[in-house]
C-alpha cells in the first residue's frame, strides 16, 4: 500500500478533532454504516462455501466462481474508501487475452494444442485466477473478516443497541454505552477500513521475513499432516478394494484395482516428494509388449514352470497383464503400504492433528463465534465469559490461549513427523536395489525386442522391394529387349527380300527400345529418385512441389544432409502426402516445411483441402508410417472434416556437412 493513501486515511479520520469528515451527521451515520459492514462480513463465509463448492464442481469454470466472488471484496474496497477514508486500489492482475489461432489452425496453450478456442481460454483464465496472489488474499479475507472486521464494524452499533436497551433499567451505564458507541463510530469505521486494507490491498512484493517464512512452512506442514491423515483413510479403501477383488475375480478385477491403486500411490509419491523433499522413484516394471500369436492363432504364455494356451487375443492380453502385475514385487509392496498407511498415520499424525485441529477449530474458532454472536446479540454477554471461557479440566485457562498453544505445539512437530513418514514410505514405495537393476535390464530387453522386430519388418520390406524390382525388370525392360533383338533378327533376314517390311520392323524395334527406356526410368525413380541423389532432400522436395498439380510452397531449414535412406523415406512420404492432398482432399494449395532441430528432422505438409483423412490399414499413409518405423520416426495426422489437413513426420537423425539450404517458393528457380 502506498504511503500517500495511508496519509489521506489519517487526515480524513476523526482523530484530531471532535468533528468527523462528514460533520456531526457522521456520528449518526457511522453506527449505521458499521451495522451494514458487519452484515457484509457475515456474507463472507457463505460466499466462501459457494466459491469452494462451485470451483470444485468445475462448471462453467472454477474461474467463473472466483471471478464473481470478487464482487464482495470489491464492494468492501469501495466502502473502505467512501466510509473509512482509506483508499484501496484494486489488486487484481489484468485478465488474459483470448487465445489466438495459429496459422496452422491450432490454438496453443504451453505445449498443448487445441482445435477449439474454448480449452485454452478456460485454462488461461484458470491460471490467471489461481496465480494471482490477490485470489488467496480475497479468500482469506472472506474467512477472517467476520471475527475481525465484523467485530470492528459491529462494536459501535452493538454498544448503541445495548445502551438503548439498558438505558431505562441502568440509566448511567446505558447512557455511557450509548455515548461511547456514538463517539467511537467514525473511529471504528476507520479502523475497519484499515483492517480491510491489510488483506485487500495489492500485496507488497517483499519476501516474507524469517519468522513469517518459518510460520508459513509450519502452517503448510500442519495442513499437509492433516491431509495425510485423511489420505491414509483413502489408502485403506484402496487396500481393502484390492483384497476384495482378489477374492472375487482375481484375473479380471484385480488388475484394474492394482492399476487404480498405482495412480493413487504414484500421486502420493509425488506429494511426499513435494512436501518433504524425499524423492521416491517409481518402482514399476514396464508393461511387456503384446504377445505374438502361434501359427494356429492361439497364444502360449508361460508363468513359472507351467503355462497356458489361450484361444483368443483378449484372454491372452488379460493373462499377460495379470502375470505382469502379479510378478511385479512393487504391486505387493504398494499393497502393504496401503494397509500400513492408516496405523502409521495413527501413530505419527493423530496426536499433532488433534492438537492443531482441536486447538484452532475447537477452541479458538468456536470461541470466537460464540463470543462474537454473544457480543452482537447481547444475550449471554458477561465479562467473565469473555475472558475466561471454560476449557474442560482446566477451568482457569482462557480457551483461545489454550487452543493457540496446542496448535503451536502440533505445528512445531509437524515437519519432522512428515519427514519421518516420508522416509518410512520410501522403504516400501521406492524401488529395491534388485528392482533397479532388473528395471534397467528390462528396459534394454524391451528396446532390443523393438529393434529386432523393426529390423525384421525393414528386412521384409526390403526383400519385397527387391522382388518387385526383379519382377518389373523381368516383365518390362528385359522382355522388351528380347523383343527388340528378335525383331532386329527378323529384319536382318528380310532386308534383302523385302526392304520395306524390314524398315518397318526396325522402326518398331526402335519404338520398343524407347518404351523400355521409359519403363527403366520409372523403375529407377521408384528405387531412388535421381534428383534426390543429385541435389539432396531440399531440392528433391522442391521438385515434388513443382510436379504436384497444386500450388505448393516449400520452406526448408536443413543445415546439412541426413542419411540417404531417411532422405528417401521423407521424399516418398512427401510425394504421397502431396498426391493425397491434390487427389483425395481436392486441395489447391499446400505448404511443405522441413526443419531440423534438437536431433529431430520434422516435416510438415499442410493443405487447404477438405480434410477427413485417416491412417487406414493398407493405405498410403499407413505405408508411410511403416516406412518411418524403421527409423524410429513417427507420422501424426490432423485432418478434421472440412480441413485443413496437417501431416507431421518426425524422425530422430543427425545432419552431416554444414551446408545451409534456403527456402524457395514454387516456380522460382533455385540457384
Amino acid at each position: 500500500m502506498r504511503r500517500g493513501s495511508r496519509f489521506v486515511g489519517y487526515v480524513s479520520a476523526p482523530l484530531r478533532g471532535l468533528a468527523p469528515a462528514g460533520g456531526f451527521a457522521g456520528y449518526v451515520t457511522a453506527p449505521l454504516r458499521g451495522l451494514a459492514l458487519a452484515g457484509l462480513a457475515l456474507l463472507g463465509p457463505p460466499l466462501l462455501v459457494v466459491i469452494f463448492v462451485g470451483a470444485h464442481a468445475g462448471l462453467p469454470s472454477p474461474a467463473f466462481f472466483v471471478e464473481h466472488g470478487r464482487r464482495l471484496p470489491e464492494l468492501a474496497r469501495r466502502l473502505a474508501g467512501r466510509w473509512g477514508g482509506v483508499e484501496i486500489a484494486s489488486p487484481y492482475r489484468p485478465a488474459p487475452p483470448p487465445p489466438v489461432r495459429d496459422p496452422d489452425g491450432w490454438h496453443r496453450d504451453g505445449d498443448a494444442l487445441f482445435r477449439s478456442a474454448f480449452p485454452p481460454a478456460y485454462l488461461a483464465r484458470l491460471r490467471w485466477i489461481a496465480r494471482d496472489p490477490a485470489t488467496a488474499r480475497d479468500l482469506a479475507w472472506l474467512l477472517l473478516n467476520p471475527p475481525i472486521g465484523g467485530v470492528l464494524a459491529g462494536l459501535a452499533p452493538a454498544l448503541i443497541g445495548g445502551g438503548l436497551a439498558a438505558v431505562w433499567s441502568h440509566r448511567p451505564a446505558g447512557a455511557a454505552a450509548l455515548l461511547l458507541g456514538l463517539a467511537l463510530g467514525p473511529r471504528l469505521l476507520h479502523l475497519h477500513a484499515r483492517w480491510t486494507r491489510v488483506l485487500l490491498a495489492p500485496s507488497s512484493r517483499r519476501a516474507p521475513g524469517r519468522v513469517a517464512a518459518a510460520a508459513g512452512a509450519r502452517a503448510a506442514a500442519g495442513a499437509r499432516l492433516c491431509a495425510s491423515v485423511v489420505l491414509s483413510g483413502v489408502a485403506m479403501v484402496f487396500a481393502v478394494t484390492q483384497v476384495v477383488a482378489i477374492g472375487l475375480m482375481p484375473a479380471r478385477l484385480w488388475p484394474e484395482t492394482v492399476l487404480g491403486s498405482r495412480r493413487f500411490v504414484s500421486w502420493r509419491r509425488a506429494r511426499i516428494g513435494a512436501w518433504t523433499g524425499v524423492r521416491i522413484a517409481e518402482p514399476y516394471r514396464p508393461e511387456p509388449p503384446p504377445p505374438d500369436p502361434e501359427p494356429d492363432g492361439s497364444y502360449r504364455l508361460g508363468w513359472g514352470p507351467v503355462g497356458t494356451v489361450h484361444r483368443t487375443r483378449a484372454a491372452a492380453l488379460r493373462a499377460r497383464r495379470f502375470g505382469w502385475l502379479a510378478r511385479d514385487r512393487a504391486s505387493w509392496r504398494d499393497l502393504a503400504w496401503l494397509f500400513l498407511e492408516a496405523p502409521v498415520a495413527a501413530v505419527l499424525f493423530a496426536g499433532p492433528a488433534v492438537l492443531i485441529v482441536g486447538g484452532l477449530a475447537g477452541l479458538c474458532w468456536l470461541w470466537l463465534w460464540t463470543e462474537a454472536l454473544g457480543l452482537l446479540t447481547g444475550l449471554t454477554w458477561s465479562p467473565d465469559d469473555l475472558l475466561h471461557a471454560a476449557v474442560p479440566g482446566w477451568p482457569g485457562l482462557p480457551a483461545p490461549v489454550a487452543g493457540l498453544a496446542a496448535a503451536a505445539l502440533g505445528l512445531a512437530v509437524a515437519p519432522a513427523l512428515l519427514r519421518c513418514h516420508a522416509l518410512l514410505s520410501r522403504s516400501l514405495l521406492g524401488p529395491t536395489r534388485a528392482a533397479l537393476l532388473t528395471g534397467r535390464v528390462d528396459t534394454l530387453t524391451s528396446r532390443v525386442d523393438t529393434l529386432t522386430s523393426s529390423r525384421a519388418r525393414l528386412r521384409d520390406a526390403q526383400a519385397a522391394e527387391l522382388r518387385r524390382i526383379e519382377r518389373d525388370l523381368h516383365d518390362g525392360a528385359q522382355a522388351r529387349w528380347v523383343a527388340v533383338g528378335m525383331t532386329l533378327g527378323a529384319a536382318e533376314g528380310l532386308i534383302d527380300r523385302d526392304p520395306e517390311a524390314a524398315r518397318a520392323m526396325i522402326a518398331g524395334a526402335k519404338e520398343m527400345s524407347v518404351t523400355a527406356l521409359a519403363e527403366l526410368r520409372e523403375l529407377i525413380r521408384g528405387i531412388h529418385p535421381p534428383v534426390l541423389a543429385d541435389r539432396g532432400l531440399a531440392d528433391a522436395v522442391r521438385t515434388l512441389a513443382m510436379d504436384a498439380p497444386l500450388e505448393a510452397e516449400v520452406r526448408v531449414r536443413l543445415p546439412g544432409r541426413t542419411a540417404a535412406p531417411i532422405e528417401a523415406a521423407v521424399y516418398f512420404a512427401v510425394s504421397e502426402l502431396l498426391t493425397n492432398a491434390a487427389k483425395h482432399a481436392a486441395a489447391s494449395r499446400a505448404l511443405v516445411e522441413l526443419r531440423h532441430a534438437d536431433g529431430v528432422l520434422t516435416v510438415t505438409v499442410t493443405d487447404d483441402g477438405r480434410g477427413g483423412a485417416v491412417i487406414g490399414r493398407g493405405g498410403g499413409l499407413h505405408g508411410i508410417r511403416r516406412r518411418l518405423d524403421g527409423f524410429d520416426g513417427v507420422l501424426t495426422l490432423s485432418s478434421p472434416p472440412g480441413g485443413p489437413t496437417v501431416a507431421t513426420l518426425e524422425i530422430p537423425c543427425a545432419l552431416s556437412s554444414p551446408r545451409m539450404s534456403t527456402s524457395s517458393g514454387k516456380g522460382s528457380p533455385t540457384s
Binding site: 529407377i524 543429385d534 498439380p549 494449395r589 505448404l591
Partner: protein
C-alpha cells in the same frame, strides 16, 4: 557446325560422334568432365555444346552446373543438355536467364536422328528444344486455378509443341492443320495467358517458357497456407 561434346560413357560418346558426323556436325572435342568442357569451350570456340547431366567426379548434376557456368561466362552460348531423366528443376535453372539457345532432352530422343539434329541446329541458332516430358511436367504441376487450366485441349496441344521449341510449320504439320488455323490458336492461347503477342517465333517460345517457368500463385488471392503475413519466413527470401 562445330560442337563440343561432354559425355562420360564411352559407348554413348562414340555413338553420338558417329551419328552427328553423318549429319555434317563436327565434334571438335569430346570430354568427360565439366571442367574439361569449360576448357574446351575456351579453346575451340564451338557453335554449341552437348552436355550430359551426370558427369565425373560426383556423377550428380555436374553437367547442368557446367552448362550454367558456360552460359554465365558467355551469355546465350547454345547448350543442349542430355540426360537419362528430365527434372523440372533443371529445366527451370537452364531457362532462368531468359536467353535462348537452350536445349534439354532425354537421351532417347537421339534415336530419332532427324528430330535430334533439328533440335541441335535450332538451339545453335538461339532457339530452344525442350523435351516433351519437361513441358508435360511444367503443365502438370499447375493447379486447377492456373490460367493454363482455361485452355481447350487443342490449345493445350499447341502450347505443348510450341513450348518444346517447334517451328510453326512443324507444329501445323504434326497436328494436320493449316498455319492460318494454328495462328488463330496461338493468338487465343496468348490472350488467355495474358501474354504479349509477337510474330518472332523464338521470342514467342521464350515468352511461353518464361510464363510457365515463373508460374506463381496470384498474390491477390489469400494464401491459406500462410494466413499470417507478419510471420517471417524462417529461411529468408
Amino acid at each position: 557446325m562445330r560442337v563440343v561434346l561432354a559425355e562420360d560413357v564411352y559407348l554413348l560418346r562414340e555413338g553420338l560422334t558417329h551419328l552427328l558426323r553423318a549429319h555434317d556436325v563436327e565434334i571438335v572435342a569430346a570430354v568427360e568432365t565439366g571442367a574439361e568442357l569449360l576448357d574446351a569451350l575456351a579453346r575451340h570456340r564451338p557453335h554449341a555444346a552437348i552436355v550430359d547431366v551426370r558427369l565425373p567426379p560426383g556423377y550428380t548434376d555436374e553437367g547442368v552446373r557446367a552448362a550454367i557456368e558456360a552460359r554465365t561466362r558467355h551469355p546465350g552460348f547454345p547448350v543442349l543438355v542430355l540426360s537419362q531423366y528430365v527434372e523440372q528443376i533443371y529445366a527451370r535453372e537452364l531457362l532462368a536467364d531468359g536467353a535462348g539457345g537452350v536445349g534439354y532432352l532425354l537421351k532417347d530422343r537421339v534415336f530419332d536422328t532427324g528430330h535430334f539434329v533439328d533440335a541441335l541446329r535450332r538451339v545453335a541458332a538461339g532457339g530452344t528444344a525442350m523435351d516433351p516430358e519437361v513441358i508435360a511436367k511444367l503443365l502438370g504441376g499447375t493447379s486447377p486455378l492456373h490460367p493454363v487450366a482455361s485452355l481447350s485441349p487443342r490449345e493445350r496441344e499447341v502450347l505443348q509443341l510450341m513450348a518444346q521449341g517447334r517451328s510453326n510449320a512443324a507444329i501445323a504439320g504434326q497436328l494436320y492443320i493449316s498455319e492460318g488455323t494454328l495462328g488463330k490458336h496461338i493468338a487465343a492461347i496468348f490472350a488467355k495467358l495474358g501474354l504479349q503477342a509477337t510474330d518472332d517465333t523464338n521470342r514467342r517460345v521464350l515468352a511461353v517458357l518464361a510464363f510457365l517457368n515463373h508460374a506463381r500463385p496470384d498474390p491477390a488471392r489469400p494464401d491459406p497456407a500462410r494466413p499470417d503475413p507478419a510471420r517471417p519466413d524462417p529461411a529468408g527470401p
